[in-house]
Amino acid sequence: MNLPPVFHDWFAARGWSVHPHQQDMLDRADAASLLLIAPTGGGKTLAGFLPTLAELADGGHDGLHTLYVSPLKALAADIKRNLRTPIDEMGLPIRVEDRTGDTTATAKKRQRADPPHILLTTPESLALLTSYEDAPRMFAGLQRIVVDEIHALAESKRGDQLMLALSRLQAMCPNLRRVGLSATVEDPAAIAHGLACHPDPCEILYADPGPDPDIAMLVTRERPPWSGGNARHAIPAVLEQVKQHKTTLIFHNTRAQAELFFHNLWLANDTDLPIGIHHGSLDRAQREKVESAMVRGDLRAIVCTGSLDLGIDWGDVDLVIQIGAPKNVKRLIQRIGRANHRYNAPSKALLVPANRFEVVECVAALEAARAHDLDGDPKGAGPRDVLCQHILIRACAGPFDADDLFTEVQTVGAFSSLTRAEFDDCLDFCATGGYALRAYDRWKRLLLRDGLWYLRDPRAARDIRMNIGTIQDADRLKVRLKGGFKPLGEVEEAFAAQLTKGDTFLIGGEIVRYEGLREVSVEVTRRADKPPKIATFMGTKFATSTQLSQRVLRMFQQDDWPQLPGHTSDWLHMQRRVSKLPEADRILVESFPHNDRAHTCFYGFAGRNAQQTLGLLLTKRMEEEDLDPLGFVATDYATLVWGLNPVTDPAPLFVRDAMLDGFNDWLGGNAVMKRTFRASATIAGLIQRNLPQARKSGRQATFSSDILYDTLAKYDPDHLMLQITREEALRGLVDFGRIEEMLTRTAGRVDHVTLNRPTPLAAPMLLEMGRIPIKGAGAERLMEDTAAQLMRDAGLADL
């Protein structure tokens, strides 16, 4: 396809030329599906839109032509602004609008009656659009769907929901063409498989990746500490870098670390450099303020988290600093791409390890980045909780035929191997609850009449629509200044529950004092008279990827480590002298006494979540063997357990079948499993997230979803929701899949080293935060003792 002359004139007037990959996209404008892999700043979005702009240039198309879907509302708004420029300057007869959760009801209504040529939206808003009975009318004439940042969507259930919505659209508009835009990923074929209308192929185009980034580890005068994640030692060196660059993005892995680092940075910021903070827990207005200051070029640095990962154009960033080990090489590369939007200049990035072990991990990540060795875990089959939601959404749009819907669902790559029996289970769950005890004959949600499935009560459509989406953010509480209305941000409810009046914590870079809880928000004042208690609200906690862990293990096998700073290679040499360095195909276990407790450190290199689960499983087994474990702490590479009796033979603890039993019986009652259940049950529509009634009414009538989990586990253990929960537990917070991977890789080869004091590698573990006590019989005892003491204090002991 050739661009109309007006486009060439416009490009020429700006001194631009069409990039080769943009021309490739034009040439393949008729392809049924097409995936473009391009580095950040490569004119990726324009490449996606050029064919549409060219097709619409003659004004001959009525109604919706192209849907653009992005993971962020802000990105949709940003693209709308960016598209206005060429459209206005070329005088093209094209109407562009966005539609997100923030769009007014009037505008939304008008868009359904009279859609624009190009509609910019999010997966959730699109799913909602497909749920209306008039959807076929609105989407009539739709030619193309552009999925931006598809690599980010593909990692979550939002991507699965989007692809299911696409299968609906494809059924309404058989000629719909699909375009995916992706940053550099390890497995483009997997993304293409997810994008195409299965079993059709999907061609992959690669833009010139540009020069390799210029990445290095930041050398600080002070040595990194043995443990912790706040990287305080690096503050002067980071400030120096900010001074030398125009705009610096300072990425952190968690929101709490970002807050703490920002606080410390300001304390050291003698020259008052304008520095801002941006993360997902901040209030939207606060975030927008920082974003616009950034676009204006008013800020010299922004301390941020993953909320700035996606492709919004934030202006002239010339340096990216990553604080803490990057955990994942792919994410590191994508973050580095945030620097330098000039296409042919190398991006510049610095890694700052926050502790001694992270020095090793940073060097391993640097080597992987230079070798273009990206990581990622293969995605499992399409999640069935999302499919259940899709079936309900389909039912909202009107009666449907189960065979047709099954055929449609199978065109989604992630669901291409879904069996009819699995589909029918999901349909049955939506219709009757899917219980072994058939209790809901009278109140079925879906009814089969004359071969078609209907909503029994059409009013149910409203509840289903209000529950659309797969993002779980229910556990947050807004933080407000006392007497004020405007929220400062949000904290996790679990964090708020630990606070007592007078406690101080950091939010939005300021220290606030907890005053109390008012309805569903946390009230604070600005009286900062105490050092802050760390805000432990999580953000996402990533585990170090399998590939990166393997790289670290390989590095351990070197005779010497010239690539590491002296203090770190000395540390590894000392570990080798005193004990051993862990190996990939064996599990190293070290036992030593410390502070009158028997300590044992298990080096599994399975990532933080799996090491945590391993801690739960191991301590359970240790309790059975009367080793009286008292607690444990987990990092990405090891789990340290302490207890009353020393471990003398660790090998039996790792017996695979016993571990699996532990997983099924005991971990089944674990709080993390219950959280996993709650998430899936909410997505599948068993639990309703947004009910029309106010949340405040009748609090004593509400009860925890944990009760539902326990009841199902006892009376209906094979129920679909429990199957899904167990499947989810292989990944995510429980991450049992990586424990299995570790057991397979090491096949019972356990090296046990017993010493009389902590080893160099284990010593930092003793300083780690986040110790988990074992809640056995001891915890109940503690509760009784506390209660008895309180009774005595109150003079009630004889009551």
Binding site: Y435, Y440, A474, F703, T711, M783, L796
Partner: protein, 231 residues
């Protein structure tokens, strides 16, 4: 069976860890707010299909207490059924286990706000039941010596674990926790409950019955609540 023994209006009562109240001198067992057939009412009213096993679970817990105590009198202190319509949906199997429990015992259904009228099952229907110095009624009034339910009290010992359903009592009044499987709770520190008591003591239920004085607190409501029906 784990219990906390308390003296209330000159009677010796045992608050069982299960949430039932046992009065040994009278061989009287009292449970409150069973909310049987709740999942049916929720499905009828909101379309939400909760796991329909709560009636089975609640009756199994009650049967365990009855087997352990062998009472001559059983009082269900109101809201025994989630509503009168739901009572009609009790399965034959569940109705059978209820009948088996009733055999050879005086069984008293106290009327609650959810189940104001008589249900088909055996036993006596009363608005209130007097026995010695105590009076059993669904919703607390100003009368001393009153044993009631309705509020589903729960309490967390500050700094030691999460909230559990609990008994609440002072010199004049005793309120039972909800016994039903699908029941939430109202914090003992909630103004509504706080107004009913003078320096109350709580007995937490669960694995063990744990007594503790109630101290006012400003803790948030924990996450993950489901909305069911009004108590």
């Amino acid at each position: 069976m784990n219990a906390y023994t308390l003296t209330f209006c000159d009677t010796t009562l045992r608050a069982l860890a299960s949430g039932a109240l046992w009065w040994p001198d009278q061989r009287l067992l009292c449970v409150s707010d069973l909310h049987l057939c709740k999942s049916d009412r929720v499905a009828r009213r909101s379309g939400q299909m909760l796991p329909p096993y709560e009636t089975r679970e609640t009756l199994a817990r009650l049967a365990a207490d009855i087997t352990a105590c062998d009472p001559t009198t059983v009082i269900c202190l109101g809201d025994s059924f989630d509503d009168l319509l739901a009572a009609e949906t009790l399965s034959a199997e569940d109705a059978g286990s209820l009948t088996a429990m009733q055999a050879g015992r005086q069984w008293i259904w106290i009327e609650g706000n959810h189940d104001p009228g008589p249900v088909e099952f055996g036993g006596t229907h009363l608005a209130a039941y007097h026995c010695g110095p105590l009076v059993f009624r669904h919703i607390a009034t100003a009368q001393p010596g009153e044993v009631s339910g309705h509020y589903h009290p729960k309490y967390a010992i500050p700094g030691a674990g999460s909230a559990r359903p609990c008994f609440l009592f002072d010199r004049r009044r005793l309120i039972l926790p909800a016994f039903g499987a699908y029941t939430g709770g109202l914090r003992a520190t909630d103004p509504v409950l706080a107004a009913l008591f003078d320096r109350p003591c709580a007995v937490l239920t669960g694995r063990r019955a744990i007594a503790v004085p109630v101290t006012p607190s400003t803790r948030p409501v924990p996450p993950g609540r489901l909305r069911g029906s009004r108590p």
